[in-house]
Subunit: 529 residues, 2 copies
């Protein structure tokens, strides 16, 4: 089972193939052992309800420790080569399953009802955060507070460090069963802002390298929107194509299970690569493919295949998630760092906290201006959102790229700072998110159950408590009607046209009602199936 | 789902990361499309009972055609880079799942009752075949019949071209439901002779490069035996360790399905890499891990996990198998060939036919000398075995390696000849194996059913037809008793010690009887589960 692929670094004509293969064997062997250790350790910690060291932190620590040991001992370079973090490998093979599983296990209701807010946080917010960070770092350099970088490099650093990580936050929120809307906000923002951060980083890098631009501010926004809409469309398109294929191919008979699953499993990857091949964002595309495939394609599968693919994607994404943190930890321990700029690290941490505050609170203010009173984002949710800004593999991968993109000392400084920020945020924020969520009282009612359980309960600010808000009666009612009409329109479209067209279901009411629940409980379904 | 890993070729510091990633996207996209096409085409052909173009041949043809088109059109080199056949990628990521699935879906009875014969064919036979081929090619060169190569290079060619391919033969035999003993012979030989061929190739390559050796004939055999026994032990050891882990870890409760499957899925790969890391043969190791994990570890899993892992390994190995042929086809169309030596190709095809005959008939003679009369390998089985000598990905990968190992023109000639042999044998033998099996009347009684079905029926020369052979009564009976005692000993050991120790089963009789059937019907179980 080739579920643990690692890109070999050796060129084609290596002098002694047997030796090379042996080194590869040892390298991969170590990685598998760390994976097994992480899974076992994570299981034990979870069973003991020890939330201060989530699985991601544990994996990162294991990677750091083993990497440190390998660094001290005289490990052969051919074995080491297997542990270098390859950005390409991360982007092409580790990220897709993680993001797809996010979309596939997503309950679409809270995500879409918060879609406006999520997009605001992801686009405007990330832009604010990266600009604020960039400018602060530049100013800090000007007044000799920290290592001085050119303006555009500061902006690049700002962009890459604004990519928050979905993996850790996701797992902690799921573990604790937090408020559904908060979860949708945090998760949606962290997935989409990755796309924004990459787009920003690449655009600035392009500006820096040759293009003399005057409309760069506007250009960045337009380019991002273009990329976003394009990626979303291609992702949705692939999902719908898959739905039609499975509806009409007649593969849901018993002895074709393998063929059915093979094809189903290839579609998400197809979507990711299609978007990348078109120069769009694979992440956004595969996310929406996941959502659409869950909603429409999934129900066209035979029952056995449904059980299998749910478990399959869960398995593959768990492996990829755990591996990302081990891989990162190991590489951090192995890479050369320039620790001479401790000031740079310290102040950049300070600045990203400020920048994240600017992002979250200003965007929340904007969203609250537009939203009706009962749907305001409460302050405690804003605080939770501010707090959940972990930096993870995405920032790390981009920083690693910057080492090659920027002149000698500069890229190294950015890389070291990013590394320090990633380790600190994953360990500190990851370990304390549980405490924070409880302190802010945003943990769901279904404490032990998975998120789907507490969905109906926490649906609070979607279907508002009528008895509380009597004062702003008329305006509120109008808005409410409008909101319900909009929701109703999509539901009607879905029920009358999309579901009958793309699936074998008749789209009756019961089906419709069950859907939210069915989607959110997919994780459980895959367990109990 | 990172089940389609391809090793990136670009070094770490590529100048424009966006562009590189786009090229990778296009490359992988094409590969996924070819995979989907192969699956769909294979399905249609199978449904129409068109056995002249098995799935493997279809995949190879698709790869060849698309590769040819890419060659004619002006495809960018950065996209092409994704299609180059990397031996390392093949050995580390594509081969393990295929071989593991072979072991995992194997019915152990016919395999072990033919174990002596299989080992004879694999070790002695492959040695004979490669020596005969090598000497004939050398002599052919001496008398100016074909391109002249030094003696050791001829021997290397002989070794690499003696590796027969398990994939295609396996699928055709399974499709047609052939005789169980013949299947065990063909399959066992082709899996084990890969290990022998690699070992031979590497040993001769080592001799050629520096070691001045006088005992090379003896050394090769000793080294192979060492490797074989070592690999087998390590594979069996890993399997038993896994069995104990799953027996005592208590993971077979419902909500730990994911953890259980993650760990189960990592073990085979662990076994492969352990053997490679120790300088042994990963193929042999993972094969035996598959057999042991199926027999002992598998029954310690929860029922849901059993269903899942069966389907999982089947899926992954199907993807890997199909991909190998596409990948090979594409690379054959893209590589530079030296077609100037058509004579070399023609005569080497002739020679490998002769060499395979020398291998099969002499080994069968030896085996028949030792075996009792009722267990003789019939001539028609020998012919079928002779005919099934397809050359596949293993020979191709080793030939590709020889391009780097040998001086300019020599490696190229060997590579081109191997390529031609692979394409011809896969298309011709693959397409006609069905006809041949029917002509030789070795197709199982359960024509349409899978192999397990016809097991009891074809058990013919294991539990012999008493009424036929009355003449050699006394000696025969003694031998029979002995044979039954041996079988009984292993079964008793298995029942009284191994099964109770390594599994949660009590090892009662019913369990024991069911086992052969259960193992051989695993494929069906995964379908109907």
């Amino acid at each position: 089972m080739d579920d643990l692929p690692i890109s070999p670094t050796e060129p084609r004509g290596s002098p002694s193939p047997g030796k090379e293969q042996q080194a590869a064997g040892v390298g991969i062997l170590l990685q598998i052992m760390m994976l097994v250790l992480s899974f076992v350790l994570g299981h034990v910690l979870r069973r003991k309800k020890f939330y201060y060291l989530p699985e991601a932190s544990a994996s990162l620590l294991i990677g750091l420790i083993v990497g440190g040991l390998a660094n001290i001992s005289d490990t052969e370079t051919s074995i080491r080569a297997w542990f270098n973090f390859h950005e390409e490998f991360f982007f092409l093979f580790l990220l897709p399953p993680i993001i797809f599983q996010s979309g596939f296990s997503l309950s679409p209701k809270p995500f879409f009802s918060n879609f406006g807010a999520i997009v605001t946080f992801a686009i405007v917010g990330t832009f604010i955060a990266s600009t604020v960070t960039g400018i602060l770092v530049y100013l800090g350099g000007l007044i000799y507070l920290m290592y001085r970088l050119p303006f555009l490099e500061c902006m690049m650093f700002g962009a890459l460090i604004s990519a928050t990580d979905p993996v850790t936050v996701l797992s902690i929120f799921q573990e604790l069963g937090s408020d559904m809307n908060l979860y949708a906000l945090v998760f949606g923002e962290s997935v989409l802002n990755d796309a924004m951060a990459i787009s920003l980083y690449r655009t600035i890098s392009l500006i820096k390298s040759h293009v003399p631009s005057e409309q760069n501010f506007f250009m960045v926004i337009v380019k991002f929107l273009e990329t976003f809409v394009g990626s979303m469309s291609s992702g949705v398109g692939v999902g719908f194509t898959a739905a039609l294929l499975f509806k009409y191919a007649g593969l849901d008979i018993d002895n074709l299970l393998n063929l059915e699953c093979c094809l189903f499993v290839l579609f998400p990857y197809f979507s990711y690569m299609l978007a990348e091949g078109l120069g769009l964002s694979g992440i956004v595309s595969i996310l929406f493919t996941g959502i659409v495939m869950k909603h429409y394609t999934f129900s066209n599968l035979s029952e056995n295949s449904q059980r299998f693919v749910s478990a399959f994607f869960h398995l593959i994404s768990s492996l990829a998630e755990t591996f990302v943190f081990i891989y990162m930890g190991f590489d951090i321990a192995m890479e050369q760092h320039s620790w001479s700029h401790v000031g740079f690290i310290f102040f950049s941490i300070l600045f990203i906290i400020v920048a994240r505050a600017a992002n979250v609170f200003s965007c929340a203010y904007m969203v609250n201006l537009i939203r009706p009173a009962h749907r305001q984002i409460p302050l405690k949710h804003q605080k939770a959102l501010w707090y959940s800004g972990l930096r993870g593999a995405m920032a790390f991968a981009l920083a690693l790229q910057s080492v090659h993109d920027l002149p000698e000392g500069h890229g190294q400084t950015i890389f070291t700072a990013t590394t320090a920020i990633v380790v600190l945020t994953v360990l500190l924020i990851g370990g304390s998110t549980g405490t924070m969520l409880e302190a802010l009282q945003v943990v769901g009612d279904g404490h032990d159950g998975p998120i789907g359980e507490s969905f109906e309960v926490n649906n609070g600010y979607i279907s508002p408590p009528y008895d509380e808000e009597e004062s702003s009666g008329n305006r509120l009612k109008m808005r409410l009607k409008e909101f319900h009409k909009n929701t109703a329109t999509f539901r009607a479209l879905d029920k009358n046209y999309l579901t009958p067209f793309f699936t074998t279901q008749t789209g009756d009411d019961e089906e419709q009602e069950d859907f939210g629940e069915a989607a959110s409980s997919s994780r459980r379904a895959s367990f109990h199936g």
